[in-house]
Symmetry: C2
C-alpha cells in the first residue's frame, strides 16, 4: 500500500468530509462532484475510485447525518433513571451544543425528509423507535394521573420547535431582530434554561386531548 490508506482517516475520510460539508449545505442536486474533489483537495477521479458514484456517496452521507441528528434525541429520552424535567433539560442542552457545531444539519434533514423514500422512513424508525415508545408511555401515564394534559404530538412539536427551529431559522431571526452572531449565541445560551422552563409550564397548563 501507499500513503493514503483505506482504513484510517486519510483520503476516504477527506472525501466524505468534503461531501458532507457540501451536500449538507447545498443539497444533492446543487452539489457538483468537481466541487467535492476541490473541497477535499483531491483529484476528481478519486471520488469514483473510492465511491462508485455521486449518488452512493450521497446516500452514505445522508444516513450518517440522520443517525447523528436523531441519535441524540433518543439517547437522553431512553434513560429511565432521570426525571422527566431532567431529561428535557438534557435533551435541550445536548441539541443546543450539537446545533451550534452543525447548524446546517436540521435543514438538510428536513429537506431530505420531504422526498420521503421508504429507505429514509425506515431509518427514522430505527433511530428513534425505542426512545419514542418509552417517552410516549410516560407521557400517557402522566396524563392519566392528571400530571399533564399535553399530548405527545404537541410535546414533541414544542420541544423541537423551541429548540431546533431557532437554528433553522437563524438567518430569518437575525434579520427580523437585528441580532449579531454574538447576540444569537447569547440568546441560545439563555434558551438552555428558558426552553425547559417553558416546556414545564406547558405541561402543567391545559394542553389538548
Amino acid at each position: 500500500m501507499a500513503k493514503g490508506k483505506t482504513k484510517d482517516g486519510s483520503t476516504e475520510e477527506k472525501i466524505k468530509e468534503a461531501a458532507r460539508k457540501l451536500f449538507t449545505k447545498k443539497g444533492f442536486a446543487a452539489t457538483r462532484t468537481r466541487d467535492i474533489a476541490e473541497e477535499a483537495g483531491l483529484n476528481l477521479a478519486l471520488l469514483n475510485y473510492y465511491f462508485r458514484s455521486k449518488q452512493k456517496l450521497f446516500d452514505i452521507i445522508m444516513m450518517e447525518n440522520f443517525r447523528q441528528f436523531l441519535g441524540g434525541m433518543s439517547a437522553y429520552f431512553a434513560d429511565e433513571s432521570l426525571t422527566m424535567e431532567e431529561r428535557i433539560s438534557r435533551v435541550v442542552n445536548a441539541y443546543i451544543d450539537f446545533l451550534t457545531e452543525f447548524p446546517d444539519l436540521p435543514l438538510f434533514i428536513l429537506n431530505e425528509l420531504r422526498g420521503n423514500p421508504s429507505k429514509i422512513a425506515m431509518k427514522v424508525n430505527e433511530e428513534v423507535g425505542p426512545a419514542r415508545s418509552q417517552l410516549f408511555k410516560e407521557l400517557l401515564n402522566a396524563k392519566k394521573e392528571g400530571k399533564t394534559a399535553l399530548d405527545p404530538f404537541h410535546f414533541v412539536a414544542n420541544l423541537v420547535g423551541l429548540t431546533v427551529f431557532p437554528f433553522v431559522g437563524k438567518p430569518l431571526l437575525q434579520r427580523v431582530t437585528n441580532a449579531s452572531d454574538e447576540q444569537f449565541r447569547a440568546y441560545m445560551e439563555e434558551r438552555r434554561k428558558l426552553v425547559p422552563m417553558w416546556i414545564g409550564m406547558m405541561m402543567k397548563g391545559s394542553g389538548g386531548s
Copy 2:
C-alpha cells in the same frame, strides 16, 4: 394579438404557477425547465420567450414567495387597534390557514435565506420592517412596565417556532408520533388556541434579559 395574452392570467401566469410549484417544492437546481413547461402544459420555447432564463424566472418566483410569506406576519402586527393577545391570536390563525394551503413555502424560504445574498436581505427588511418596529416598541414598553420579561428575540423565535415549525417538520413529526394526515390537521386546529395560550404564559413567566 392571439389567444394567450400578456396581461391577463393565461400563458405567462400558467408558466409562473408551474414554476412556483416546482421551484418551491424541489428548489432551483433540481427543477428542469422541461418539467416546468410540461407542468404548465406549454411548449419549452415559451419559457424563454416570456422570461429570458431559468434564473430570471426563479428570481421572480422567489421574490413573490418572500412577499407572501412575510407579508402576513407584518399585516397583523401593524394593527394598533388590537390588544397584544388578540394580535398574537390572529397571526397564529392566519399562518395556520396559510401554511395549510402552502405547506412547502417555509422550507423554500429557509433554504433561500441560507444563501443570503443581499438582494434577499433587503427584501426581508422591506416586507417586515414596519411591523417589526411597531412590535418591538410595544414589547419593550411592556417590559418596562413589568408586564412581560420576554425579549423580542425569544418572542419571535417562540411564535414562529411553535406556529410554522410544525409544518416544516411535518414529515418528521408524523413519523415520530405516528400521526396520519388527518390527525396532523386536527393537531394544527388545536394549536390555533394552544399556541396563543402558551405564548401568553411565556410572556407572563420570567423570560430572559
